[in-house]
């Protein structure tokens, strides 16, 4: 089973919400109601650019109970981008048609928590938009700590402050403001959970700060939308079909397989869900594991690879496909 059934949607609205961030509102092509979802969910957006097929995950930002449209925010990563976000910014406008997956939640708030501390950096705000909507509706205790480069670079700062008042704390890097995480985490009641989403260094910093303050690992959660890191080209050999496929430097194994019409399993495409776990028959050298799913022992064994994120430096790898 690869991915999920796709739904065709039309772009109903595009808004520039910050310097490099656009908000897109998507409606069903036949105006059919969309699925409700839970706070923290994301969808995959499928983009056809020429003969290239791209799929990027984006968090849903609207109200989880609004079935008339979905809203996503896209940060334009410019020329560093592998193409998806740039395509959304340059080629997608009101009336454009796209395909999306059903919502999937790999970052749900813990329903047993007595309080939720949300820590966001930059575009990492997006999963918290729906999460706050849900927590607010359920009268759950939460606070947001949101760091942005500047007011111009940060999306939704004013909106969030007006909607959630003192529960929202915005920190402007250009004003020398930093999230005072140590004091925030140092004064929380038992049963509080922390969630962090943002660039990898920020996530690492937040997780380490929590650990040093004696927060149990069970109380901290993170989500990182990472694109598969680029590398050098290499060759994938498929043990069952005997085919050989080249993976380009800016491509993941999964993308290369799809480009050649190989039906491989996937879901989140961010190395988190485990759906694309694939057996390794043999491999030149070592695997660069970039996922968050395999255990340390599984990585060391070299017997498994998450093909949406991980690659090898060069040479060839033979997969059980």
């Amino acid at each position: 089973m690869s991915g999920s059934l796709l739904r065709r949607v039309r772009v109903a609205e595009v808004e520039q919400v910050a310097n490099r961030i656009k908000r897109f509102r998507l409606v069903d092509i036949d105006n059919a109601p969309l699925s409700e979802f839970s706070g923290g969910s994301h969808i995959s957006v499928v983009m056809h650019s020429g003969d290239r097929l791209m799929r990027n995950p984006y968090s849903l930002m609207g109200s989880p109970t609004d079935t008339s449209s979905y809203q996503i925010s896209v940060l334009n990563c410019g020329n560093d981008s592998r193409g998806g976000s740039k395509f959304m910014h340059d080629a997608v406008s009101v009336g454009s048609e796209l395909e999306i997956s059903e919502p999937l939640n790999l970052f749900p708030p813990c329903k047993l928590a007595r309080k939720h501390i949300l820590v966001a950096g930059g575009i990492g705000i997006t999963p918290f938009m729906s999460m706050m909507n849900e927590l607010d509706a359920l009268h759950c205790d939460f606070e947001l700590h949101y760091g942005v480069r500047s007011l111009e670079e940060g999306a939704y700062c004013k909106y969030l402050q007006s909607r959630y008042g003192s529960r929202v704390n915005v920190y402007l890097q250009d004003q020398g403001q930093m999230i005072p995480l140590e004091s925030v985490l140092g004064s929380q009641r038992l049963g509080t959970h922390m969630y962090v989403c943002g660039p990898k260094p920020m996530i690492d910093w937040a997780l380490q700060t929590a650990e040093l303050l004696g927060w149990p690992a069970e109380n901290v959660h993170s989500e990182q939308f990472s694109a598969p890191p680029p590398g050098k080209p290499f060759v994938v050999k498929l043990a069952k079909s005997g085919r050989e496929i080249e993976v380009r430097g800016h491509q993941s194994i999964l993308e290369a397989l799809e480009e050649h019409g190989v039906d491989a399993p996937f879901l989140c495409r961010g190395g988190a869900c485990g759906q694309c776990e694939t057996g390794v028959v043999s491999c030149d050298g070592f695997i660069e594991h970039n996922d968050h799913f395999l255990t340390e022992a599984e990585r060391v064994s070299g017997k498994k690879i998450m093909i949406c994120m991980s690659r090898i430096p060069s040479g060839s790898i033979t997969l059980d496909l």
Partner: protein, 346 residues
């Protein structure tokens, strides 16, 4: 298909039986002539018309009587229905899914009218009419899971998803195959499957959990499971095992056909959208061996499957005391002829 609801019992005088049409649609679970453990998950999509797979929640001729038996069980032991406090949103998710499906699939029997959060539900077979506010449990006579659970065939549990695990934090279980919701509520996926033999070692539950954690909205799945029950008793709970356990010693060569029932569970798994929980439906079907052997393929195949069942499973499913008698009886219906693949009648 117009349904005529039977007036029958699942205790005391055990008047339950299947009509010829119900026998034909029985979900016989064995697809080959020997026992094979498999997770056998498939998409829970619309099946053939009239089959038990036609709709997400199958309503059949036993509906009214099964609901009456459930009410009796809950009257005696309210702990058969439990939901931990954080499961309220999931309860509403379940109520919505079940009501929408039943009203869509059986418009002659059920009607749901929605005006924003003002809902109006009509259940004609059970003569229930209810106006309530969706999301406000105080407008229903029971909490949402129990309210709709008393009106839909099958047992249900709801799993919360946390920390890459599923936690059975709610359920309404009145016709279970010997497991206790009251004891198991709050357990994770591996824990509540703890007593199941063999499968843990085979890595079955690790793979199944990974699959379920990624279960998608609008893409439910199903599988079949089975056991055997003496007498068409729905309440084979551990709570009452000291009352029904002795049934297992009453099987004789003369009464196998009436006493021994194949009991099949069609298990459905649905991602609930707002709560991100998973609804697990356990829809049970009973068929006496007398009625089962009216389909010659089933008589032959059940004989062959029971002969190849591993010892661990014979114990786990509680068949030890009557398996040999049952195999002996079934041998009369197995002429050694080949059988076709798949579970359906020839």
């Amino acid at each position: 298909m117009a349904l005529t609801f039977k007036d029958e019992t699942f205790r005391d005088d055990f008047t339950f039986s299947n009509s010829p049409a119900a026998i034909r649609r029985f979900p016989f679970p064995f697809v080959e002539d020997k026992y094979m453990y498999s997770v056998n998950i498939e998409p829970h999509t619309t099946g053939p018309e009239g089959s038990v797979f036609e709709f997400p929640f199958d309503i059949d001729e036993h509906y009214v009587s099964e609901m009456r038996d459930r009410a009796m069980v809950l009257q005696e032991d309210p702990a058969r229905c439990q939901a931990l406090p954080h499961m309220m949103m999931a309860q509403w998710d379940m109520l919505e899914l079940v009501m929408m499906s039943m009203a869509r699939d059986y418009p002659d029997l059920f009607t749901l009218t929605r005006d924003g959060s003002k809902w109006h539900w009509v259940n004609r077979p059970l003569k229930i009419e209810q106006t309530f506010t969706f999301g406000d449990a105080s407008t229903l006579p029971y909490e949402p899971m129990e309210y709709i659970g008393r009106q839909v065939q099958g047992d249900f549990s709801i799993q919360d998803q946390r920390d890459n695990q599923l936690w059975m934090d709610a359920g309404i279980i009145t016709s279970q195959a010997d497991w206790s919701l009251d004891f198991d509520v709050g357990m994770n996926f591996f824990e509540w499957h703890g007593p199941v033999p063999l499968a843990h070692e085979a890595g079955v539950f690790e793979r199944a959990l990974k699959f379920l954690l990624n279960l998608q909205i609008s893409n439910p799945v199903r599988r079949l499971n089975w056991t055997m029950t003496i007498n068409p008793r729905l309440d084979t709970s551990p709570e009452n095992y000291h009352k029904w356990g002795k049934d297992r010693t009453t099987v004789t060569p003369e009464n196998v056909g009436q006493k021994v029932h194949l009991r099949v569970e069609m298990q459905g798994l649905f991602r609930l959208p707002r709560s991100n929980a998973i609804l697990f439906s356990i829809r049970g079907y009973l068929l006496s061996l007398d009625q089962l052997v009216t389909v010659p393929k089933w008589g032959r195949r059940l004989h062959r499957v029971l002969k190849t069942l591993p010892e661990e499973l014979i114990g786990y499913k509680g068949l030890s005391r009557y398996r040999d008698t049952t195999i002996e009886w079934l041998s009369k219906y197995d002429d050694g002829a080949p059988t076709s693949r798949g579970g359906g009648p020839d």
